[in-house]
Amino acid sequence: MKYVDEYRSRSRAKKLSAQIKKIMPPREIKFMEVCGTHTQGFYRFGIDKLLPGGLKLISGPGCPVCVSTGGYIDRAIKLAGYKDTIIATFGDMLRVPGGKLDLERQRQAGRRIEVVYSPLDALGLARKNPAKKVIFLAVGFETTAPLIASSIISAKKEKLKNMFFLASLKRIAPAMRYLLKDKRQNIEGFLCPGHVSSITGTRPYEFIPRQYRIACCVAGFEPVDILEGLYFLLRQVVKNRPIVDNQYIRAVNRCGNTYALKLMQQVFCISSADWRGLGKIPESGFRIKKEFRDFDAEKIFSLRQQASGSRQQASCKCSDVLKGLLSPDKCNLFKKACTPEHPVGPCMISAEGACNVYYKYKK
């Protein structure tokens, strides 16, 4: 496939690996990959084996499924319990634990919960089932948010009376700011998410080198992309000149996709948001604007915002994993009480969760 194969070239990967080893200083350096898709790529392609021993990659909070709160899942479960509703959701959400239950078990119990590939499929369900209320679980970061905005606008244009969105949309840069405020954090660079940045541009990260003197590089997701991104980060650290670098120039610019950003502005306002494991973070979420309240499941079904209590065990260390303070294999439950078949915390459930990735790929 064009724009995939050439970035999976073994010889290019080896060259970059050699280059990284050449400039690596003789000490430990920690970078955080913010995005779960990077975490997955990093281990799936065996990139960890191409890096010098002292260069450590730490997984961040960049998996929207993992950071969805138990309270959000509980609201979705409540909606699924109504007689005339169909819940439409991305598949990863099914097994995320709520307070007591998860959506998968609700589905097995006969609730109508449909896995869809796109929010457009949810609109299709609403058209096909006029007697039912279709509720799409709108979960995601800035990559997904404009699609949701576009779908809400479409629903309004079409005057779909039975289409609703339960939004849990999040913004990455405010979460990075939150992580940087934790004094225990000792990362020297962020590998910034390529697809979020294709929408937002590189601008939202500019405060990081400026205020915190920490290196940033936006990178794509193929092995050559990830390695080059790490090389760019390391180069900044060695020169002690932190900036926002951009490895993914074929899809990312400084200002992002202005059409997508306009759609988001039209439909959402910025609000604080609850992150599982991290808590409430100011300005880190999107709320559906009043003009579109007819499509906001939160308003229409008058769901009470409950505390994000979940049945997560006290011994589950997902919150430290999400902050990058603990490696998944250092959690006492890892591979014992907590496996992909029987996950305890959200980082084991999502295919992009750090624990799930470690379980599958890391020896």
Partner: protein, 69 residues
């Protein structure tokens, strides 16, 4: 979750296009890429084209790496 794959635009009809990757044809929404043309590659996430792939800048990335000795 933020997965997006490069697809080639084959035909355009209004806000939608037929796009191809690895022999698979799929209808995608191109509302966010108003300038997109037949033959262009774009990143597709959950049924929407989210960004055009710039062929010149893609070449730049590769030639930079090829220059490393």
């Amino acid at each position: 979750m933020c997965l997006a794959i490069p697809m080639k635009v084959k035909s355009i009809h209004g806000a939608f296009a037929a796009a191809e990757a690895g022999g698979l044809l799929r209808e995608i929404n191109i509302q966010m890429l108003p300038g997109v043309r037949i033959g262009d590659y774009c990143l597709v996430h959950a049924g929407f084209a989210i960004q055009k792939i710039d062929p010149e800048r893609a070449r730049q990335t590769l030639s930079l790496i090829n220059e490393i000795r």
